[in-house]
Amino acid sequence: MITPTHYMLLSALLFMIGVMGVLLRRNIIVIFMSIELILNAVNINLIAFSYQLQDGIGQVFAIFVIAVAAAEAAVGLGIILAFYRNKETVNIDEMNLMRW
């Protein structure tokens, strides 16, 4: 029997894989993809509860999350391109212009 706990464990595991990607990788494009994985984990949670409670509001919120993810990807990749044009790198260890 698949309970909501199963879906939430799947969501937590996907979330943690995304967090590991953000923490361990140095290529900023891969870090952005890890953030997409994290947003997907959130969506799985929302839709699992929408299914459990038979309420459409969870799915409406998932649509908003997808809209924000699309906006984030567009702006973030624009920033990556602008940065790459100036510094010729996508390594986040070298992206320390505004650190101090």
Binding site: M1, I2, T3, P4, T5, H6, Y7, L9, L10, A12, L13, L14, M16, I17, V19, M20, G21, L23, L24, R26, I28, I29, V30, F32, M33, S34, E36, L37, N40, N43, I44, I47, Y51, Q52, Q54, G56, I57, Q59, V60, A62, I63, F64, I66, A67, A70, A73, A74, V75, L77, G78, I79, I80, L81, Y84, E88, T89, V90, N91, D93, E94
Partner: protein, 171 residues
Amino acid sequence: MGHAIAFYLISALILGFAVLVVSTRNTVHAVLFLVLNFLAVAALYVLLTAQFLAVIQVMVYAGGIVVLYLFVVMLVNLKRPPEDHSSPQRRGWLGVGLGALVLAQLAAILVWGGVGTPADPYTMQNSDLALNNVERIGMLLYTDYLVPFELASMLLLVAMVGAIILAKREL
């Protein structure tokens, strides 16, 4: 029973492709694994009777966002891969430890928290939300959530303008 088999199969696909996305050295391969991961998540949405979300997932994520990523990966031609230049201050094991700690915490909350009784998949499949999915979602979006919906459209407009200005070589 069929629900359980489908769940475990799709979960294995989702987690496996997610691990490949974050562990592959070649960025283009990582983007392609991301497509497969999004498609598996869309299959999970179908399993949860959220058909509209599944279609949106395939169109927006697997179709739109991933193409954007591929464009950037192709535009940014790397003469030296970023993984070869590690900062001495980086502590990878600290990231793994903190991640494992948060995962253990989440799992403990889920296992001992008691989420509720399981949903019955046989009645769920014939419920109103499953059968008239698009109608129900559309009704919610255009009545109760009209203001957030309009705000989302404004957000997308601002993001589009911002992305064009950022990517433009000179203004």
